[in-house]
């Protein structure tokens, strides 16, 4: 439906659409333009203050990452004297953020890839073959959206312990794939349903097998939606904390959020290294910012409308 339509729509149609809707909006602006009230003025000020706050914290965080602990303490508003990345180097070497980053990157990419690779065919099937059975299956997947993760925390720990997959990144990857199924399947079903059937029918008439049709016709058409699903998983696996905290015990297996927690807890004993901590925060936040700048509109639509239906 709308989700996927919007995800799919390419730049040219977008310009056409906005171009068309521009005119009525301007007219509407004129019709109600006079009733700009004080309330609205206050609202505008508050809104922009809020926007500024949302930018300021990030800038502040990056700035502090270039200063040393003592100067941060004495003047939290100060600017760095140089762009020496010494904090990043310390965080990278002494704070074990290097291993953690590597673990996070590999876990995130592998689990997101496997999630989408498994969820896409399932979503395709459930979206295309509609009968009572597949509808029930779809419901079965959707139910998972409502189960808070702490419910499965203990059983997962016990189960993985049985097969020696606790404190293992392989185990964590498998868990992430399972836990991401409901959302990914749900998002992709809506997306596949929005794709036109005609091309697939034509391919079938030309003698393509059902799998061939999916592989050569539908998948290339669905690239946009699948990329969105993949990146949404990257974001959620990159930030996932509770499961990683429970399932990983040794330092060399930590993912970034867990490493950050342990870094903060060490400071209680070894004295604060705020510069290093800020560098660590940057390592967690900035990749998300990069992804957001790259694919922003797609992500907001996938996250809002995908969940919205």
């Amino acid at each position: 439906m709308t989700t996927a339509e919007m995800l799919r729509e390419d730049t040219s149609t977008r310009t056409v659409v906005t171009g068309r809707s521009d005119r009525p909006r301007r007219r509407r602006g004129a019709a109600i333009g006079r009733e700009r009230s004080v309330l609205r003025g206050i609202g505008l000020v508050l809104l922009w203050a809020f926007v500024a706050l949302n930018i300021a914290w990030m800038i502040w965080m990056v700035i502090q990452a270039f200063r040393d602990t003592r100067s941060i303490l004495s003047d939290p508003w100060g600017l760095p004297t140089s762009l020496d990345p010494v904090n990043f180097v310390t965080a990278w070497t002494a704070g074990d953020f290097a291993t953690a980053t590597l673990n996070s990157v590999s876990t995130t990419l592998v689990s997101s890839f496997v999630t989408v690779a498994i969820a896409a065919p399932a979503a395709y099937y459930l979206g295309r073959v509609e009968n009572r059975f597949t509808n029930a299956l779809t419901m079965y997947f959707v139910l998972g959206l409502g189960i808070p993760v702490q419910v499965i925390l203990i059983p997962l720990f016990v189960m993985l312990n049985e097969v020696y997959l606790t404190d293992s990144l392989v185990g964590l990857n498998i868990v992430y794939v399972g836990v991401s199924m409901p959302f990914t399947v749900f998002l992709l079903i809506a997306f596949f349903r929005s794709l036109p059937q005609e091309l697939e029918e034509a391919a079938a008439l030309d003698g393509a097998s059902a799998f061939g049709t999916f592989w050569r016709i539908t998948l290339p058409l669905a690239k946009g939606g699948i990329l969105t699903a993949f990146v949404l998983q990257v974001i959620s696996h990159w930030n996932e904390t509770l499961l990683a905290l429970t399932l990983l015990q040794s330092t060399d297996k930590y993912t970034l959020p867990v490493a950050l927690i342990s870094f903060i807890q060490q400071q209680t004993y070894s004295g604060a290294d705020w510069g290093g901590l800020f560098a660590g925060l940057c390592i967690v936040v900035l990749p998300m910012l990069a992804i957001y700048l790259w694919l922003g509109r797609r992500l907001t639509e996938g996250l809002t409308l995908g969940m919205g239906k």
């Binding site: 949302n54 925390l153 189960m159 957001y292």
Partner: protein
């Protein structure tokens, strides 16, 4: 055989009908063979790693179990014990506060922002900026709060410049939870604003023109046009917040940054924190049964509220 022979016409007709039906859905039939390879893996992963554990959690919640050693069946004992446990009641109360108070704050702020954003210059940029915190680990904001609010931090320096010499002890234990609530409102508002805006944007402009012609004021426009037409979006948002508020863990776990000695002060606990600490803190004998029971109670809370919300918010979405 004889029956078929006796009624050739009927049989033939039936066969023919079946043939056409099958022929019409040749693609569907070919697709159906893909069920096992296509849906199988997803179903397996999901069932084994999500549904299975959920059922197992219910089973564990009826037992007294330290993780190792035998499980002792106690029936509903764990649940009874939970309702006598002050710590759990406090955690549960906190979760309810997050759910209702923060939820209400988010909706008021988001809706306000949506109304301001609706026909404002630069709306896309503003919306994109306030959405971003949703993509950041909430933990980060917990850590930053520690820096901003510590005695020599940003806020107190600022207050100092403004002439306040005796600022409150922001990070005192009794202030932490309200601060967490404020922080959560901040970082979640953008997400819900985006959803609400998607709903408000669906309203065609001629409704507003009609309002202007009919001489409706801003409040009437809100009451008779915007609210009814975005009602279903509100319902969705409420369900989403119910589900996600019950899971809140990271920001509480690390709130205040360097103040933590491993486990956050009990006054700030949510049920997710309670579950984790009861099972994995390593400071006392793990009580898997109690921990599971508390998790199951949060699941029950979600289920009840989602069902109620669907009831209350049920109203046919108005097709535009």
């Amino acid at each position: 055989m004889t029956q078929t022979a006796a009624m050739p016409g009927v049989a033939a007709g039936r066969v023919a009908r079946r043939a056409t039906r099958a022929g019409g859905n040749a693609i569907d039939n070919a697709r159906k063979k893909l069920f096992v390879p296509f849906v199988g893996p997803a179903l397996l992963f999901y069932s084994v790693l999500f549904v299975g554990p959920s059922v197992y959690a219910i089973w564990i919640s009826f037992h007294k179990w330290a993780g190792a050693g035998p499980m002792e069946f106690v029936g509903l004992g764990n649940y009874v014990k939970l309702f006598g446990d002050k710590l759990f009641l406090q955690s549960f109360g906190n979760t309810l506060l997050l759910l209702f108070v923060v939820g209400l704050a988010i909706f008021v702020v988001s809706f306000g922002l949506t109304l301001v954003l609706r026909d404002m210059a630069g709306r896309k940029i503003a919306r994109s900026v306030i959405f971003f915190p949703h993509l950041v680990n909430a933990m980060i904001f917990g850590v930053l709060a520690g820096f901003v609010l510590n005695p020599g931090g940003l806020v107190n320096t600022l207050l100092g410049w403004a002439g306040v010499t005796d600022p409150p002890a922001w990070l005192a234990t009794e202030n932490l939870f309200p601060l967490i609530m404020v922080m959560l409102t901040w970082i979640t508002t953008g997400y819900y604003t985006t959803i609400l805006m998607a709903g408000v944007d669906r309203i065609p402009p001629y409704y507003y023109e009609d309002c202007a012609l009919a001489g409706a004021n801003a409040f009437q426009r809100l009451r008779y046009v915007i609210l009814p037409l975005t009602w279903d979006v509100f319902g969705t948002c409420a369900v989403l917040w119910t589900i996600s508020s019950v899971k809140i863990f990271e920001i509480i776990w690390i709130f205040g940054g360097s103040t933590g000695q491993g486990i956050p002060p009990t006054r700030t606990w949510s049920t997710a924190v309670y579950t984790y600490v009861t099972a994995f803190s390593g400071e006392s004998i793990p009580a898997y049964g109690m921990a599971s029971a508390s998790a199951i109670l949060s699941l029950a809370l979600v289920s009840v509220l989602v069902v109620l919300l669907r009831r209350v918010m049920r109203r046919d979405a108005i097709e535009i």
